[in-house]
Amino acid sequence: MVKPTKGVLSIASIAALGVLAACGTSSTTTSSSAGATGIAACHGTITVATDMPLTGGDATDGPFPAYAAQLAVTQANANKLMGGCTLKYVSKDDSTVLKNGHDPAQGAANITALAGDPTVMGVVGPFNSSVALSEIPVASRNHLALISPANTNPCLTAVVAVCSDPTIEINTASLYPGPHTYFRVIASDVQQSEIDAYVAFSVLKATKIYVFDDQEAYGRGLALLFIKYYTADGGTVVGKASLPGSTTTFSTQLSNAQSDGAKAIFFGGTTGNGCGLVRRDMGSAGLNIPLLGGDGCEDQLFITNANSGAKTSEANGSYATSAPDVTKLASSATFFQQYAAAYSSLPAPYNDGTKEPYTAYGYDAMNILLQAIHNALVANGGQPPSSSQTFRDAVVAQIRLTSYDGALGHTTFDANGDTTNTGFTLYEVTNGAWVGVNTYAVDTSGHVSVKS
């Protein structure tokens, strides 16, 4: 059916097209001023994403780094970091109802979806090491940069002896079918456990120790590494217990520890899986020895749980190593203020970034990613490369060259994608709150020294 006035209508429709294009829903074109050069002339959309467990049992952990990363994107947009290009942010949730928390399958699906979007240039995540196991291969295959703010399992980036332990069994090489695109801004458990062993043996002066783990990837890895370094230091592990996260009472194992003459208890695992409960039960059993945990124990919930027993001040005197106290760095003070300002309307505890140790990690991870994207654009004359794979490769290459000062201090990456900003702080519960005692660093030969 040909309309006789086709010509006129065509002109009218083209005019309408032009008018509507200005306020259309298309996101491929933004105003570009002819004649601008460099990054200001950039046109296109760049998307960055986070993949965190936002609901279920991880709801008190995952959202913090996600919010912090979102803040970084908001600030980058305000500063026009990408010039004329539009910077978008997508938040993915890798928790499912079935698992009541993080789900590796959902994580893999999220990364697959993000990788399928040609405008996505990098993802900050995941939070859990077990999710990383399924996400890293997908990211690698799609050349997509993946920066984790919280994965500490060492086998994700490099092969260490414990990776072939039958209860760990992670083959690092098989995680990278493509290029190595995975990075993390947090030190791995190799350093943390070396420091833990040092603390247990030389600082707490405990020659015999009883080790718990919570049967999850992070906790198990930390406990195994701890045992390795602790026995190398000269200590004796009098007993081990590997209990599921659903355990409600640890009295049986603590009786064993008591009878075996343990001088301290080590807990490899998270508070959600019983770190605080062990302390509570130690109080009930009258076991007056120190408890040492990793960064999974260093949170407010530990204190609440430990004090829930008959002794309401039981938490005092517990120890845990964790990421260096970023609230003490000047650079991070600014960040936490900005966070509080941006998220004051959120319900507690999400309105306070200090309530969770990984908030600043999410912030720095996202900033590092954005910086790398910016550098890749500049290196390409201010325009994104035409092929998304080329762009992603360029971003990954730029991340490798990162030398970034942020809320965590100075971060660079080594050849494996691990951060060189290692060092863990020993915290002690004093008067119902975690207080930093000393920060330790460990060098490549395994020698631990006090940093500050």
Binding site: V97, L98, N100, L133, E169, N171, E216, A217, R220
Partner: protein, 522 residues
């Protein structure tokens, strides 16, 4: 020939013999309507350029009709609205006692066929002839292929359903298969703009469907309550993962793994079924529950150094068959999964109607009487467990290669309950029902529930009720799930599409229930 075609196309007097048996008809009619509306509005659900689906036909109507294309779309819109509302209209008319006649069906058949043709023309116009803007403000080339083809499929499905109503009612399973199989086969091509994620979702759906079909054998066919089905899934997944990963440095191809997974799982199915032989009802359920808890425990504790502890087995190979590298293109993965699923469905259907199937029916109804007629209850029960487990072994093989890491957490009680819910919701003992249940529940669990928060936020800003945005739907999932299960059992215990036997059972139960009420027992 013409007479046969006429007989084929003619319809039963609506509301004819038994209303029972038309379940599939309504499902397909609803599906047709669903495809039409989703195709029409696809990007409204997914978001433009989210998963790369572009604009829908709806967006072409933003401006006044200006091109051939837009005019055609107006016609299509009319046809679509008619077909969309027709199931609803039919229900209403039936309730008023004046059902539609065969002429209405013929009209709808022609509308459907016309819709198919016109949609094809629209697609040709914007794909092949792209010179002038034919669709208002939408630039040609940006319209979503997927949306067009979904709409076309919806029209075709509507034509089939209304045109061949009698056949659909009479040959339910076949109709269901014929209607949806082409959709399944062409799915990767239809959504070629967003391949990976969609095929991932479809793959997960297929895996859950396989699991549900396997459980259906145990619970539906043989009547053995199984609350620990995830244990067989775990065994199948771990077995296949062991043979295709660096953990033992064995790398066997997928097509061998399928059989190995099925064989090992069925062996364990028989082993785990053995202690339950003397048990009935609730006790059987509890023992299976016990096994469902023991198996993941054993896996976590790395029994016999086989299972890799709490990290499970990672780095599982992605299958490749010569030129078909699954890791490059998930289509081949999807198609092989589809093929296996179809094979399983056909096999199970045949088993259901074979001697074993009839033995299961007897066992389910009255075990003592079954034994009295010479059925070997031991072998029959063990077969039920073995066959049910073998299907989940299959699913385990595909699961491992999809997610590349298999951990003990993947096989918790929640998974067993989810699969049981699918079977119960869909229709215990009814293969089509189970498939339907899998589609609905996977859809709800993996798409509706996670997105409810963002939808409520969008909705709240649209209708200006800010309170809506603050409801954290994800924390209500357990509540919703629990209420759904309770309501399902109270109102429709047979499931959405009860099997014929179950329907009869429930009807007689209702009669005896009223009798019991008279007696004052219940």
């Amino acid at each position: 020939m013409r007479k046969r075609f006429a007989a084929f196309v003619s319809t039963v007097p609506p509301g004819g013999p038994a209303s029972a048996g038309t379940g599939v008809f309504w499902i397909l009619a609803a599906t047709a309507s669903g495809f039409l509306i989703i195709g029409w509005l696809l990007p409204w659900f997914v978001g433009p350029y989210d998963a790369g689906v572009g604009f829908s036909a709806q967006d072409a109507l933003i401006s006044p009709p200006t091109g051939v294309g837009t005019f055609l779309i107006y016609i299509l819109a009319v046809a679509m609205v008619v077909l969309l509302l027709s199931p609803l209209a039919e229900v209403v008319m039936r309730l008023r006692g004046r059902p539609f006649g065969p002429r209405a069906d013929r009209i709808r058949l022609y509308l459907g066929l016309a819709g198919v043709v016109l949609t094809g023309v629209v697609w040709l116009l914007y794909r092949v002839i792209q010179e002038e803007p034919l669709f208002g403000s939408v630039v040609p080339g940006e319209i979503s292929d997927s949306a067009i083809w979904l709409t076309m499929y919806g029209f075709a499905l509507a034509a089939l359903v209304y045109g061949a109503r009698k056949w659909v009612v009479a040959r339910q399973t076949l109709a269901f298969g014929t209607a949806l199989l082409p959709f399944g086969i062409f799915l990767p091509l239809m959504f070629h703009q967003a391949p990976d994620f969609l095929l991932w979702a479809a793959g997960s759906l297929a895996i859950y469907m396989l699991l549900a079909l396997g459980l259906n054998v145990v619970v539906g066919f043989a009547g053995l309550l199984d609350l620990g089905y995830a244990a067989f899934f775990a065994i199948g997944a771990y077995a296949c993962a062991s043979f295709a990963s660096p953990i033992h440095n064995i790398h066997w191809p997928l097509w061998i793994l399928i059989f190995i997974g099925a064989a090992i799982a069925s062996l364990f199915g028989a082993i785990l079924g053995a202690p339950t032989l003397r048990l009935r009802g609730d006790y059987l359920a509890i023992v299976t529950l016990g096994f469902g808890e023991i198996i993941p425990d054993l896996a976590t504790n790395n029994v016999f150094n086989l299972t890799g502890g709490p990290n499970g087995i990672s780095g599982i190979d992605q299958p490749h068959w010569g030129f078909m590298d699954f890791s490059e293109s998930p289509r081949w993965y999807y198609w092989s999964l589809l093929l296996v699923s179809i094979a399983v469905i056909i096999l199970l259907r045949n088993i259901e109607q074979a001697r074993v199937g009839r033995a299961w029916v007897a066992l389910r109804e009255d075990e003592v009487a079954a034994a009295a007629t010479g059925i070997n209850t031991t072998t029959t029960k063990l077969l039920a467990f073995a066959i049910g487990a073998s299907v989940s072994g299959l699913a385990g093989a595909f699961y491992g290669s999809l997610v590349t890491v298999v951990t003990p957490d993947d096989f918790s009680f929640s998974v067993s309950i989810a699969v049981l819910s699918i079977v119960v919701l869909g229709g215990i003992g009814n293969i089509v029902g189970v498939i339907l249940g899998a589609v609905i529940l996977t859809f709800v669990i993996f798409w509706v529930l996670p997105n409810m928060d963002s939808w409520s936020t969008t909705l709240s800003s649209t209708v200006h009720i800010p309170a809506l945005a603050n409801i954290n739907f994800s924390s209500y999932t357990y509540i919703i799930y629990g209420i759904a299960l309770i309501l399902m059992m109270l109102l429709r215990p047979g499931g959405l599409l009860p099997s014929r036997a179950r329907r009869i059972e429930l009807e007689s139960a209702e009669e005896s229930e009223s009798l019991a009420a008279v007696q004052g027992i219940a």
